[in-house]
Symmetry: C2
Subunit: 153 residues, 2 copies
């Protein structure tokens, strides 16, 4: 009957569970998904202007202002004057921010270990292979349908 989206449903369930798992560790410490995303990218990029963060995150500069305000208020980042451009500010991780990111990376590794632990090497290979195909296929689907005036055909 409704069994015609078996793979889709499984992927969706994984997505929901991952989201829940990541949300769980953010409660009560002044972090949210959006703020954490910024923190994560800031850690990847190193000290950055808000403009750079807006581009990387794909959100408006105004939005970054709000997120940095909140992260600064909670002590995760600092705003420093840009050394060569007095219009800009450099957003940098505080020690607390760095520690928080490190903890998150450790949590991810723990989840990864738990997941891999339940699979033998063959199963893991098959799963990885299948996921890569799914990812490629979804990228294709997005590419085709993205902007109204496409031309991949």
């Amino acid at each position: 009957m409704a069994d015609d989206v078996l793979l889709f449903d499984r992927l969706l369930e994984v997505a929901v569970l991952l989201q829940q798992d990541m949300d769980r560790s953010l409660t009560g410490i002044g972090l949210t998904t959006a703020r954490t995303h910024l923190l994560w990218e800031l850690n990847r990029l190193g000290p950055s202007t808000q403009q750079a963060l807006a581009t990387t995150l794909g959100v408006s500069p105004r939005n970054v202002t709000g997120l940095v305000d909140a992260l600064e208020r909670h002590g995760y980042v600092d705003r420093q004057p840009h050394p060569s451009d007095r219009r800009a500010v450099l957003v940098v991780l505080t020690d607390d921010g760095s520690r928080t990111i490190a903890q998150m990376q450790q949590d991810r590794r723990a989840v990864e270990l738990a997941l891999v632990d339940g699979l033998d090497e063959i199963e893991l290979g098959h799963l990885t292979h299948g996921l890569d195909k799914v990812i490629a296929c979804l990228h294709d689907l997005m590419g085709e349908a993205g902007p109204p005036a496409g031309g991949t055909r």
Copy 2:
């Protein structure tokens, strides 16, 4: 180096892509993720009180009021008096709402087909098997860590 969360990263990428794919079809027709979620559950449950919807969706009754307001405003649902409880209202899909849901189900089937099309039967079996293990593992992780005063041990 940073290659120690390979599986996690793949699952995360799938989650992001799925979210993007689902968002894509909602733009410009008065729908959002939250509203669509309500519509979807309403279709599954049949005519429901807002209380029932709040419970099913795991959000506050106040939140449901806002979502139903918006969906009603855009013609996807109607509020009808509850036949036996004059405090409650029954939220029901309009014809337009039903058509929209049907279209979404069809879109899902199309994505499912595209995904399955890229895999032979063996690969599909392996992928499904791996995902089921991942889902079970994630459920375990959530269960263990969920409420502070757990007792699964």
